[in-house]
């Protein structure tokens, strides 16, 4: 199993947000995670990627056979975990080019490879930019600075394409995108998709899942996965909302 999360509990400032979550992801799979606002989806992503301030009070996160709890964020990234941020961060003064080159070389160094030659790097930048249909000279601009909402999301997928992770977590990459941009994001994902890697797609909308077809759909509620199913579950949620899930959950937890 690529990722195996066992009875995970995560607290922020002493408040428990994730309350015993189990999730297994194999290579080649796409898992969608849905669920009402504020139920812990981004928190889960933060815990997997090693963000500080997210305290793992219980449980284990296994990635490629190692328990990664306590591993620094950059090492997880270099092991192949990528997060497309729900809110990408603007970093004035750091150019996209420099940022990507530093990231790519950090990854290569981690894997015992030499730095990427400049020519090869620029070619790769160009290629991936085209893949996500970034037409402007985004690359010479500061990271996300002054990017529109849609551009920021495309930029996340661009970075994913550059770094070619084995596990990509997309946190609401579809929100705020027009239909064309949505297709571009989906194209970026589908291009990378292979039998060796996996995706966790956090979304509120079934629409994205028309383009990135998931193998599993999970509903996160109250810090746990309360329901899992196939791609049809997303359709059902779209139609019926979350009330019935909440009712089911409350009924079972009262038992």
């Amino acid at each position: 199993m690529l990722l195996n999360i066992k009875s995970l509990h995560v607290a922020i400032n002493g408040k428990e947000i994730i309350k015993g979550l189990n999730l297994g992801v194999n290579q080649g799979e796409v898992h969608a995670i849905m669920g009402p606002n504020g139920t812990g989806k981004s928190t889960l992503a933060a815990a997997i990627t090693g963000r500080e301030g997210y305290e793992i009070t219980q449980g284990e996160i296994w990635f490629k056979g190692r328990n990664i709890i306590g591993m620094p964020a950059e090492e997880r990234a270099n092991e192949g975990i990528f997060l497309s941020f729900q809110y990408p961060v603007e970093i004035p003064g750091v150019s996209m080019t420099n940022f990507m080159r530093t990231a790519l070389n950090a990854q290569r160094e981690y894997r015992g490879l030499p730095s990427i030659p400049a020519g090869e790097f620029l070619k790769m930048m160009e290629e991936k930019k085209n893949l996500v249909e970034i037409h402007s000279k985004l690359t010479n601009r500061s990271v996300n600075e002054g990017f529109s909402g849609g551009e920021k999301k495309k930029n996340e997928i661009f970075q994913m394409a550059m770094l070619q992770p084995s596990l990509a977590i997309l946190d609401e990459t579809d929100s705020g995108l027009d239909i064309d941009a949505l297709k571009v994001v989906a194209k970026g994902v589908n291009e990378l998709r292979s039998n060796d890697n996996a995706f966790i797609v956090i979304t509120h909308y079934q629409r994205l899942l028309d383009f990135i077809v998931p193998d599993f759909v999970h509903v996160l509620y109250d810090g746990k996965i309360v329901k899992s199913g196939g791609k049809n579950l997303a359709l059902e949620l779209e139609e019926k909302g979350y009330e019935w899930i909440k009712e089911q959950y409350q009924a079972t937890s009262e038992l």
């Binding site: 090693g50 950059e74 970093i91 750091v94 420099n98 080159r101 990854q107």
Partner: protein, 472 residues
Amino acid sequence: MNNNPLVEEISLDEMLVRHFETHFDFISSNDIPSVSALRKVAMKQFLTTGFPSGSDEKWRNTEIEALTEEHFNYYLEPNEPERDIEDMFRCEVHNFDTEIISMLNGWYLNSNDRITILPNGVVYGSLRQAMKQFPELVEKYYGKIGDITSNGFVSINTAMVQDGVFVYVPDGVEAEKTIQIIKMIDRRESLFVQSRNLIILGKNSKLSLMHCDDSINHFISLINTVSEVYVGENAHFELYKLQNLNNQSGLVNSTFIQQEANSTIKTNTLTFNCGMIRNNINVDLQGENSHADVLGLYLMDKKQHIDNQIYINHNAPHCSSNEKFKGILDDEASAVFNGYIHVARNAQKTNAYQNNNNILLKPTATINTMPFLEIYADDVKCSHGATVGQLDQEAMFYLRSRGISSGNARLLLMYAFAADIINQISIEPLRQRIDDMVKKRLRGELSVCEKCVLHCGMPEKEYHFDIDMSKL
């Protein structure tokens, strides 16, 4: 003249006053009469004020007594260099060809050839020689641009200084090469060092000047420099100050600039290292349509202290000024930034901008930043702002989540912060070299070294970050 310092354990100010009284004739032996006269006025002033102290409003945040109460030696004649001079002052920055002026312990070094006149008419040389060869010019400007009573350091400098740099760019001449003043302090004892620079730009002229203050050993020194710069009509002046002294030393640097109509200046004060630094920069915008960029970057750590006092005086209409200082403070370093903007009653259509941004890397680092605006005209645009913060934690995580080590992520963010100032260096080879030095400094690899700071470390070897900064 005996060349031994007074050996009794008396305080610095007492020693200086005693020197003045005993050796006035010697001290003033190269003077033109107006300079000698100023000495007396200045000494009178010094006798009433002494060195500034914490009880002076404008020195409240800088404990200058820690230095002025130290014991120093003061020489009235140059001392013999203690090591190979050629090597020390060699400053070869690739593609950056400068006219080098070497000053050792405050004295002009090229003693045989104290005034150089370039084919285009630019004159540079030792101030004491200039008093002989260009007495009218010295008389016209010396002590007229700076307020010699503004504080005890300026007074004592005016009273006793014996040497310094003189530069004259005649009307209509554009100096092609940058003039680089390299000031080294190197002596196996503690020194109090003074020097005085007089820079004159005629109408429609142009000059860029670099002023490097370095120390190359670890003895305590206190350097007191006063520079007066006259920028004639439609003249353009750039000044790069590089400060890299040891952690024990103190530097008090007072720069007075007067600008005539349609002139522009840009000063960039880059502080890499020094125990205690006080930079006083005073710009008088005297003529209409003149513009001043007053920029600075300070990178301090350990127990270092920097105090930047910037005075921009808008004395004529339609002038603009842009003041921007940025600092990164680590460990227990402390900084003071006071930006004074004074707009005179007739200085309508003034545009004055001031900004001071700071990053404190540790909670033990401190900054005291304060604007002082005095505006007497009514049609004025004036803005000021100051920020104090830590490295952006969101940005840190974003970078690390892409595999960049926390060390490199910090460097990237600190560098991005500083780049703003570095990018305003208009001489490209110099910009690149400073860029390298900043990276080196941020990694803690720049130290007080054996040579001109631009040459520090391994000049033959291009300095590389893990990151390719040229792509920024």
